[in-house]
């Protein structure tokens, strides 16, 4: 019931996941939420995406939840 109606459920939408490692303070809620996509760097503890260099992660329901949970605003969605 936490709304995420700022984005549509449309899978062909242009919504993209944006990651700002400067804001990440690394408690890893994203990793718990979607371990297939998110990881934390061994050395600095900050968020890493498990996608290839030119691969754009799909904005799934789990990704949206990770964005909602992220306590520091390091993960956001954008549609430009």
């Amino acid at each position: 019931m936490v709304s995420n109606d700022t984005v549509s459920n449309d899978t062909v939408s242009t919504v993209r996941l944006l990651v700002d490692r400067e804001r990440c303070l690394g408690a890893g809620r994203c990793v718990l939420t979607d371990p297939d996509l998110f990881d934390q760097d061994e050395d600095d503890g900050r968020v890493l995406l498990l996608t290839g260099p030119d691969e754009e992660p799909e904005v799934t329901a789990a990704v949206r939840r990770a964005v909602q949970f992220c306590p520091t605003g390091a993960l956001t969605l954008s549609d430009d």
């Binding site: 019931m1 936490v2 303070l25 690394g26 408690a27 890893g28 809620r29 990793v31 718990l32 939420t33 371990p35 990881d39 934390q40 760097d41 061994e42 050395d43 600095d44 503890g45 900050r46 939840r65 909602q68 949970f69 306590p71 520091t72 605003g73």
Partner: protein, 404 residues
């Protein structure tokens, strides 16, 4: 601020009322005004912010400070006089950018992967404590046999306290959380722990070793900002933050599940669901609640009120976690609750709990191990006759007599 001269703001905190009906004064949603002015035990006033959205908004607001030295910070107890030097303050009381710099020194020690590597050790610790419980006479106190030693030994493991010192460590933490001891004895116990960290860190300065404190000493030296008192304070802060919180969550969770036998039976049959149940228990009890205080550095408008620069504000996780807009029937404990993970029991914003993945792991392992190895565990005293920590800063239970 003529307001401050009046004393008609309601007192804060008030006792929770029913421990299993949820915090009464944190009804969330429409039941509570968005912001309430309260009188603190120290005599000052502060705002209390309610509701999921507002609590999260406030804790993510850069105009809100965690700096306990600032006038207006909502202290619940008188602060000791004399400010410690700036360079010795641990991260909990710092704001960005200092907070960020210190927190970055430690985040890699608490990643999800690191905590998974600790799992086998936490399991051994829990098994040892359950052995001790089973070897003791019945009834036994769950708090002193399980809830206190598990987090205490987990912090030893994390910080790299040598095995030979752990009995000392365990005895001191047991003493600190046993209210039959006088305030004087508790102060002495705390002083002994501080003295212990002082010595341990002095040893690690000579031979850092491959553990959290050793690695932190090396990192701070490399950055040219190593400070002995800072490291002692940080170790003590990690013990404080990681100990009583987890202790109380263990006690409350065991009692709550014993009181909800149908949900307990489901977990026994499906231990892989315990991790999710732990999220619901964290939401339900919000043991860290009264102490999530901040002070405004600028005027902050919120829902028609203005929190003025210099005014204190408390963002209660229990109020967010009992918000019916987010959690339907919030006063019901439901281990299948889909939205349980939305809780803010570990806070929100930059200071969100650094040790949350350790706490999750300890809780999951304790619940699964205890209920598997002691299948007929039961309370030796009815839940409504237990003594709840209604007047303490971290919510919990003093003693839990159990038998089997």
């Amino acid at each position: 601020m003529a307001d401050d001269l009046t004393t008609d703001h309601p007192p804060f905190p008030v006792p929770r009322g029913c421990p299993f009906g949820g915090p009464e004064r944190a009804a969330g949603g429409d039941a509570e005004p968005p912001l309430t002015r309260v009188t603190l035990p120290t005599g000052g006033t502060a705002w209390v912010v309610s509701g999921f959205e507002r609590v999260r908004r406030l804790l993510a607001d850069p105009r809100i400070s965690s700096d306990r030295r600032r006038p207006g910070f909502p202290h619940l107890a008188p602060v000791p006089v004399g400010n410690p030097p700036d360079e010795t303050l641990p991260m909990v009381t710092l704001d960005a950018p200092e907070h960020t710099a210190h927190r970055r020194m430690f985040v890699n020690e608490f990643t999800v992967r690191r905590m998974r590597l600790l799992r086998p050790r936490i399991q051994e610790i829990v098994d040892q404590c359950v052995d001790d419980l089973l070897a003791s006479g019945r009834p036994a106190d769950l708090v002193q046999t399980i809830s206190v030693p598990v987090p205490s030994m987990a912090v030893c493991e994390l910080l790299g306290v040598p095995y030979t010192d752990r009995d000392f460590f365990k005895a001191r933490t047991q003493k600190l959380l046993d209210r039959s001891n006088s305030a004087e004895e508790m102060r002495k116990g705390f002083g002994e722990l501080l003295g212990y960290f002082d010595e341990l860190i002095t040893l690690k300065e000579k031979d850092p070793g491959d553990d959290l404190l050793g690695r932190a000493i090396v990192k701070y030296r490399d950055a040219g900002r190593y400070n002995h008192a800072y490291m002692v304070n940080t170790a003590t802060m990690l013990l404080n933050a990681g100990h009583e919180t987890t202790t109380n969550m263990i006690s409350l969770s065991v009692v709550a599940l014993l009181e909800n036998p149908a949900q307990l039976a489901e977990l026994r049959a499906n231990p892989e669901h315990t991790a999710h149940a732990v999220e619901e228990l964290l939401r339900y009890f919000s043991v860290v609640d009264l102490t999530v205080g901040r002070v405004a550095t600028e005027d902050v408008e919120m829902d028609g009120e203005t929190i003025r620069a210099g005014e204190g504000v408390i963002a209660r996780p229990s109020s967010a976690n009992m918000d019916p807009e987010v959690f339907a029937d919030p006063h019901v404990l439901d281990i299948h609750r889909e939205e349980a993970r939305h809780h803010v029991a570990f806070g929100h914003g930059g200071h969100n709990c650094l040790g949350q993945n350790l706490a999750r792991e300890e809780l999951e392992i304790v619940l699964n191990t205890l209920f598997r190895r002691v299948p007929d565990l039961r309370l030796a005293k009815p839940a409504d006759e237990l003594s709840y920590k209604d007047t303490e800063q971290v919510y919990g239970i003093h003693e839990v007599p159990v038998t089997w």
